[in-house]
Symmetry: C2
Subunit: 508 residues, 2 copies
């Protein structure tokens, strides 16, 4: 028979016990927080019609770029969902009988047909919650509370995260002030610097590109943003990005706006109100932030948890009001050995055009989404997740095959008392079996042979203690003579002995 | 803007709050049972290489029939997994460092590109557990215990289910006795009966077709099996299936075997031992059943939970030893109004060729898989699942917009005490808000206006009691005068009042 090579498609991965257990625990904790606010679950299929998913994929230039799509039996294009928001918009449009507000959460894998990289997969989990049919900024304030509560519930301490809030209307107001709010022009010329110097470039620039430039602030610094907004920027890799060619006056207004950072939310609002001048849309945005501030303050969510930050843009062009970003602020070392803050794990905003492409209606909606795998990586980095890879707390070893049934009976009796117990069922001597328990991180082994069964005794081995004592048990002779962390009990005292050890390890 | 029609691809569906909540609860319960036996979770991607998935899809005649497949960037075929066993075999082959035994569970959606029908979806959940690297029948006995424990844990009472066990080796032994163990022939002729009478047929028949015929016993009865094994069978729809054309002697042996049904497992074994005669493989099969019986008996799993049934085949051709079927035995009415038993929700078996196509090695493995959605449908039918669609236990209504912040503070204080609470954030009068709570099945509403806030009072409405009293609250006037199931409390007694009501409904 020709052999098949067992291999994974790149960008995909297997997740093993410790990580699945940790992820499930984290997901359960997040779910509890979402449910505390009354959000209810929804599950939509992994496959949708391409036209239903729409063209919302961030950073994608082609209509169906970045998605896994295929032709179905009727020659229609179907695809794997790339996020959980597009399916939500379909659901809200399809079922007018749904309660309104419709407050749903959804967790599950999404798929992106993009270039994979380290920590960047083509299948990854998102965990969204959204409030649909809620027009006012108190709903946006609630999103901030849920974000903060969630991060603390999973184990990120206050001070290690910050929820940053801004409002798209203020950004739009600033563009209005600069006269670039409906920007749509072609910039062209010859690349002035770098390896490709002299080569011609041609690029369409719209108002979204101004947002995109601002959105890069964290990566390229304020000087970088300035270059992107004016003559263009050369990055470290030698790639040249043509600039937006804004006027000096416009640049000054935008940079002034980006500097409106203050410690208190109220001060930021005051400064923004000044900056925004008479722009109606801008004033609306500031009012929304003031409402959010007053709600957060009333509920005790002060600036140690939620701040206003004019530099927050959020890439997606569908946001229409407040935008939120949950950032982890503790430092980590990147691949190049540089220290940087862990970064964003949670993002969202208000998007009142949710169902417009389906029904033509405006339905106000606001929400946020967790990057589950990134948050899990953060918790791992902080040492805040259990890395235990076993579910069994007791391994019943098989020393004498004649007693196989007895071993199963022992295990059965422990299971009936709620103790997760496994009987070792492959071949191998006692040393191999204890190594198996050790590798699987099972804390207790039970050992018994003809002598023990005759005398109504059992041997209990505390493997974690044994490991602490740096013992190595190679074979039957060794354990018989050394018996590290091992003791004999009466068979009818098994349960209490097991419980005592598990209690020590906080496993009960 | 051209509008998009919001629609689902057929065979796919949205699952709403009550069903997701019920499914999650059921999955958690099953998980607990699997973990009680020490199985650990694994997650594999939804997408795999087609050649890695292999050709194991039941009932499929083409190599890639029945799967959703697409070309990737390197012109290779990739596809959505159709079960969780093929990915397990890849994992076991790819990672030789995995512990052995490798005992894993996996839950998740699988995808079949087949014709959808009522209750038959193209995306559905399976929940598998398998023990890899365990050569002996005590491991198979354990699978039976897990299956029984699982069904009881989710709420199927003893007597409402039965685990049926058989052994492929015995089936092979019977074929050996008949001389048809390596059957591979062409049958051809003219269809003798039915609408297509006289038309020529030509069909390849192998030993697997004998298994398939036996596997149809439940559907076509013993006479139907007899026809399929001999001259062919015409079904109700007028389709003609050419028969296996077995000899009279062979037919007699097989029918005799299928009749080896007895109340006790021991009697079945004795009868099978007689039937199987000198077939070595058949005798091995009977010995395996005897071992399973002795383990089950020692652990107290008697014939009220697990029986031996020679008619159980399990369609998949990869089983090599014991096969298991978890059947729900209570009666339901089908679409045509006929009464029939609910049927199989759990199936599995031993498949020692798991990784052979990858590594050439034989690795013994045994396990089973739940049809999650079918089991959930059964629990629903039995009225054993909570159909509650809300997660919020309290709705704070908004009667006076001036107090919006106060309503949020009330909700916040309840949440901090662990009470799931929602603030109504859409527009609408109090009647509309109470209808929302009613529709969402939220048990308690809190109502307060200027008068209450001035006096330090709150109105609590027990909506479930109100519903019982068949009250309809249309507007502020009505509730002010009638106040069904509604009472006033001091604001500082909110928590205890809420708890009292929730306790009555067993929601705390």
């Amino acid at each position: 028979m020709a052999r098949t090579k067992p291999r994974l498609y790149r960008g995909f991965r297997d997740v093993f016990a410790a990580d699945v257990l940790a992820r499930n625990r984290m997901i359960n904790t997040v779910r509890q927080v979402y449910e505390r606010y009354g959000f209810v679950p929804l599950e939509t299929p992994a496959i949708e019609y391409v036209e239903v998913l729409g063209k919302f994929l961030p950073e994608s230039t082609q209509p169906d770029g970045g998605i896994f799509s295929l032709h179905n039996e009727d020659e229609e294009w179907i695809a794997l969902r790339y996020d959980l928001t597009a399916p939500l918009s379909r659901v809200v449009s399809m079922y007018p009988e749904l309660p309104r507000p419709f407050r749903r959460y959804q967790v599950g894998p999404v798929y992106r047909f993009e270039k994979p990289g380290p920590g960047r997969f083509r299948e990854f989990y998102q965990f969204d919650f959204d409030s649909v049919g809620v027009p006012r900024a108190d709903a946006d304030a609630e999103i901030c509370c849920v974000m903060a509560d969630t991060l603390e519930a999973v184990g990120i301490q206050r001070g290690d995260y910050i929820i940053k809030v801004n409002d798209r209307k203020i950004l739009n107001g600033i563009l209005e002030l600069t006269g670039y709010n409906n920007l749509d022009k072609i910039v062209e010329g010859d690349i002035p610097i770098g390896p490709a110097k002299g080569k011609p470039y041609r690029r369409q620039i719209t108002s979204d590109d101004i947002f995109r430039a601002i959105d890069k602030l964290d990566k390229v610094g304020i000087e970088g943003v300035e270059l992107l907004l004016t003559g263009g920027r050369l990055d470290e890799s030698g790639d040249y990005t043509p600039g937006c060619e804004l006027s000096d006056d416009a640049l000054e207004k935008i940079l002034g706006y980006l500097n409106a950072k203050k410690d208190s939310r109220k001060e930021v609002c005051d400064l923004l109100a000044e900056t925004i001048g008479d722009s109606e849309i801008g004033k609306e945005g500031v009012e929304e932030l003031r409402t959010i501030d007053s709600h957060l303050t009333a509920l005790g969510y002060d600036e140690s948890r939620v701040i206003f930050d004019p530099t927050v843009v959020r890439g997606l062009s569908y946001y229409t009001g407040p935008v939120f970003e949950g950032e982890l602020t503790f430092e980590v070392t990147d691949e190049s050995g540089n220290s940087k803050s862990f970064g964003s794990v949670f993002g969202g905003g208000r998007y009142d055009d949710l169902v417009k492409r389906f029904t033509g209606q405006m339905i106000p909606a606001t929400g946020a989404s967790i990057g589950v795998d990134r948050l899990l990586a953060a918790l791992k980095h902080l040492g805040r997740i259990d890395t235990k890879s076993s579910t069994a707390h007791v391994l019943v070893t098989v020393m004498d095959k004649n007693f196989r049934t007895e071993y199963h009976k022992l295990a059965h009796s422990l299971r009936q008392q709620g103790i997760n117990t496994e009987v070792y069922m492959a071949g191998g001597n006692i040393g191999k079996q204890l190594k198996y328990a050790d590798k699987a991180n099972i804390p207790i082994a039970i050992i018994a042979g003809d002598r023990e069964f005759e005398d109504g005794k059992l041997q209990i081995k505390d493997l974690w203690l044994g490991r602490d004592l740096s013992e190595e048990v190679e074979d039957r002779e060794t354990w018989r003579t050394e018996r590290p962390a091992q003791f004999e009990i009466n068979a009818d005292e098994l349960l209490e002995n097991v419980k005592t050890i598990l209690n020590q390890y906080k496993l009960l």
